[in-house]
């Protein structure tokens, strides 16, 4: 295997952000309190946004911050607030399940890593357009108009559905 790594500025930035993302994720798994987990994952999401910027996807990075760090995390915090979380981490562990899950995940990672390393990607043929946001906007309203509209419908349905789910149960109780 050949790690032909150029020690450029981009690499350092990537390395830093990657470490931040992984640490955030690992901590999220290890924290006992749900709130800590959520915040730790928010940190990971922010790191990922940085990586997107590094990948010249400024619009996606912006949306990432807005959507994940903003909306989803806040939603989760609301969820945490509306449910009780006493006795966290006091239940007996499930050693068999945990061990098997760890082995499975490691195997999966091994397979993926092996696949990535043995793939041998050719160098890109061209560069991305400069004005990222404008290009995406144009694409969304031309080539991807129909999927865009469908997604908006989906969002509406999910919104109404979520309201209906929560509301009906309230009436029942």
């Amino acid at each position: 295997m050949n790690f032909n790594i150029d020690f450029t500025g981009e690499f350092f930035a990537f390395f830093l952000l990657a470490v931040c993302a992984i640490v955030g994720a690992v901590l999220a798994i290890n924290f006992e309190k749900v709130v800590h987990t959520t915040l730790s994952l928010a940190f990971t999401f922010v790191s990922l946004a940085g990586l997107y910027v590094l990948l010249e996807a400024e619009f996606v990075a912006f949306v990432q911050v807005l959507l994940y760090v903003g909306a989803v995390t806040i939603l989760m915090i609301f969820g945490i607030m509306m449910t009780k979380h006493q006795g966290e981490g006091k239940e007996p562990g499930r050693p068999l399940l945990e061990a098997l899950a760890a082995i499975g995940c490691l195997c999966l990672f091994g397979i993926l890593f092996y696949a990535i390393r043995s793939a041998g990607f050719p160098a890109p043929a061209a560069d991305l357009p400069e004005d990222n946001t404008l290009s995406i906007g144009k694409l969304l309203y031309s080539a991807y108009a129909i999927p865009f509209e469908l997604v908006s419908v989906l969002l509406t349905v999910a919104f109404i559905g979520a309201v209906a789910l929560a509301k009906r149960e309230e009436e029942d109780s």
Binding site: L100, A101, G104, C105, C107, L108, I111
Partner: protein, 626 residues
């Protein structure tokens, strides 16, 4: 002479078979009516048998063989047919007559039994099978009927199946006769193998073994003859397979009279007579038959002397008399064997029915608790006395003539066999005298109330006794030393009866001596009853315990077989069942594992999916490298 009736001889067993079918189909709803149906069917059989016999009494009646091809496989041709000869005609009359009388008698004897229609259906099936056995024109059909009568015997011995002794006796009878049946089956298979054209009919057997002897080697012939004799030994209760017959007395008394005295047990003798050509070609087998018969005759008579159960005494007497018949066959005289079978059927059936009448009256079978019944049951006592005299061989009763014929044949063959026969005749007279005097003479012993209530049986029971008594008196005159009519009829005039003064004198002297001694001991009291038992207690005890044959068999065969059974059962438990349990448990364990997997928790399912995906990828990727 046309054979009008003989052509339809199959009707004879058809009547009782139809009665059996009706009784089985309609069952309990008939109850008393069913008994009458069976009786009428047996009457029809009897009438038809008499017509056949009357037809055959004409001189030079042809033998008639009828039937149809039953099975064709390659060159093998099995027929299901019937054969009417003088011998079968004689047997037909004997069987149907005894069956008819027993049916009549049972109408009274079994009156209060709730399963009366079942009883009569069994009797009908037995009668049909026995007649089929008699009529069979080949060994295959004979064997089928042979087994059928065995089954009926089993069913009827165990008829009162709530009594454990009856169940045990039924099982014992079935298993012990099975040993003999196996011998017969092997003999039939051997014959099938060696006979030219795989023929099994009696006509071919006669041709091969009589006319063209030498086709089958002497050693094989001897083997076949001995195996057939083994079948006869089982069925006819000869030593050493006699043990089932006395126990079979647990069945209803009419059954003892019909099956275990007159007909089925005589089937062994009939079989040997029917296949006599094979025995004639194998002198060693014939000698075996004679020796076994003679030994059984004297052996069973000594046991009969020491028994106290009225039916058991008669059972051992039956064994002894069957030994006589075997002795006669072994001595080469089929005529005297059939003659003794013929007379014995009547007087032994008479004795059993008389015993049944006594049991019916006093409700016990122990002769020590009887006595003085002669005044209360005149008809039974008189007829029983006639039967006893006939059995003892007192002239002019039928038993005298037939026993004389047997002894004459034995004298011609071997003086020793004759001597044994005479001693057995003496013992027979002695135990019959003991039985008669203890039951009917003297003062009542045992339960006085039961004796006071004892009264003569109803007419439906005494009528057969009178008929049989008459027959026991006159049946002997068909064959006397002065006119050998039966012999010439049966064998077509080949055998000339010759009188033997020595045989007559010796047998009459032995019988009279036995009766006189019995009278001295058991009626007059001139000789003390324990004169012998006090002097030779061991000897008497030996006879009482039936020479410990049952115990010997129990120790030798039953225990060892049971041990083998236990070992096999243990093997079955541990190895076979273990394997089954292992299969079951592993499936169960797999099930438990799956149950734990199916815990309804989505995470477990997800994990399973992950593991499966990893394994799948590894497997697919792995295939590339192999």
């Amino acid at each position: 002479m046309a054979t009008v009736f003989s052509q339809y001889a199959w009707l004879v067993p058809a009547f009782p078979l139809a009665a059996f079918a009706i009784l089985t189909a309609l069952g309990r709803s008939l109850s008393r009516t069913g008994a009458w149906i069976a009786t009428v069917a047996s009457l029809a059989s009897f009438v038809y048998s008499v017509m056949i016999a009357a037809e055959r009494l004409a001189k030079n009646a042809e033998d008639y063989i009828g039937g149809f091809a039953w099975l064709r496989a390659g060159s093998v041709n099995l027929t299901a047919g019937y054969e009417v000869t003088n011998l079968t005609a004689l047997m037909l009359v004997v069987v149907t007559l005894v069956a008819l009388l027993v049916n009549l008698y049972s109408l009274g004897y079994m009156k209060d039994d709730e399963r009366i229609s079942t009883f009569f259906s069994y009797v009908a099936l037995f009668t049909a099978s026995m007649l089929g056995l008699v009529l069979a024109d080949n060994l295959m059909i004979l064997y089928v009927c042979w087994e059928l009568v065995g089954v009926c015997s089993f069913l009827l011995i165990g008829f009162w199946y709530r009594k454990p002794e009856a169940r045990a006796a039924a099982k014992k009878a079935f298993i012990v006769t099975r040993i003999g049946d196996l011998g017969l089956l092997i003999a039939i298979l051997l014959l099938f193998w060696y006979m030219p054209g795989h023929a099994l009919d009696f006509a071919s057997l006669h041709n091969v073994f009589y006319a063209q002897s030498g086709i089958i080697s002497t050693s094989i012939t001897t083997l076949i003859a001995l195996l057939i004799f083994l079948g006869a030994v089982g069925k006819s209760g000869q030593f050493p397979l006699h043990v089932w017959l006395p126990d079979a007395m647990e069945g209803p008394t009419p059954i003892s009279a019909l099956i275990h005295a007159a007909t089925m047990v005589a089937a062994g003798v009939f079989l040997v007579v029917r296949t006599f050509d094979i025995f004639a070609a194998a002198p060693a087998a014939l000698d075996t038959v004679a020796v076994v018969g003679a030994f059984t005759a004297i052996f069973a008579a000594t046991i009969g002397l020491a028994q106290n159960d009225i039916k058991r005494i008669l059972a051992y007497s039956t064994v002894s008399q069957l030994g006589y018949m075997m002795l006669a066959v072994g001595a080469g005289s089929t005529t005297s064997a059939m003659f003794h079978l013929f007379t014995h059927a009547f007087f032994k059936a008479l004795l059993f029915l008389g015993a049944g009448s006594v049991i019916h009256a006093v409700h016990t079978q122990d002769i020590r608790e009887m006595g003085g019944l002669g005044s209360r049951m005149k008809i039974t006592a008189w007829t029983f006395g006639i039967g006893a005299l006939a059995l003892s061989g007192i002239p002019p009763f039928s038993g005298f003539w037939s026993k004389d014929a047997v002894l004459t044949a034995a004298l011609d063959d071997n003086p020793w066999l004759f001597a044994v026969g005479v001693v057995a005749a003496f013992l027979t007279a002695l135990y019959m005298a003991r039985l008669f005097f203890l039951v009917f003479a003297g003062k009542p012993r045992g339960d006085a109330g039961a004796h006071a209530r004892a009264k003569e049986s109803p007419a439906v029971m005494t009528a057969p006794l009178i008929v049989l008594a008459a027959l026991a008196v006159v049946a002997g005159f068909v064959q006397t030393p002065f006119s050998g009519w039966l012999g010439s009829w049966l064998t077509g005039g080949a055998e000339e009866e010759h009188a033997s003064g020595l045989a007559i004198v010796a047998s009459v002297a032995a019988s009279l001596l036995g009766l006189y001694l019995g009278w001295l001991i058991y009626s007059k009291g001139a000789v003390r009853r324990d004169a012998v038992s006090s002097r030779f207690p061991r000897l008497v005890r030996l006879a009482e315990r039936k020479y410990y044959i049952d115990e010997l068999y129990d120790a030798l065969f039953v225990k060892s077989l049971r041990g083998l059974g236990k070992a096999l059962s243990a093997f079955d438990d541990v190895v076979v069942d273990g394997a089954v349990r292992l299969a079951g448990r592993s499936a169960l364990a797999l099930g438990r594992l799956n149950t734990r997997l199916q815990n309804g928790q989505i995470q477990t399912y997800g994990l399973a999916a992950l593991v499966a995906a990893v394994v799948l990828v590894l497997a697919i990727a792995g295939r590339r490298f192999w």
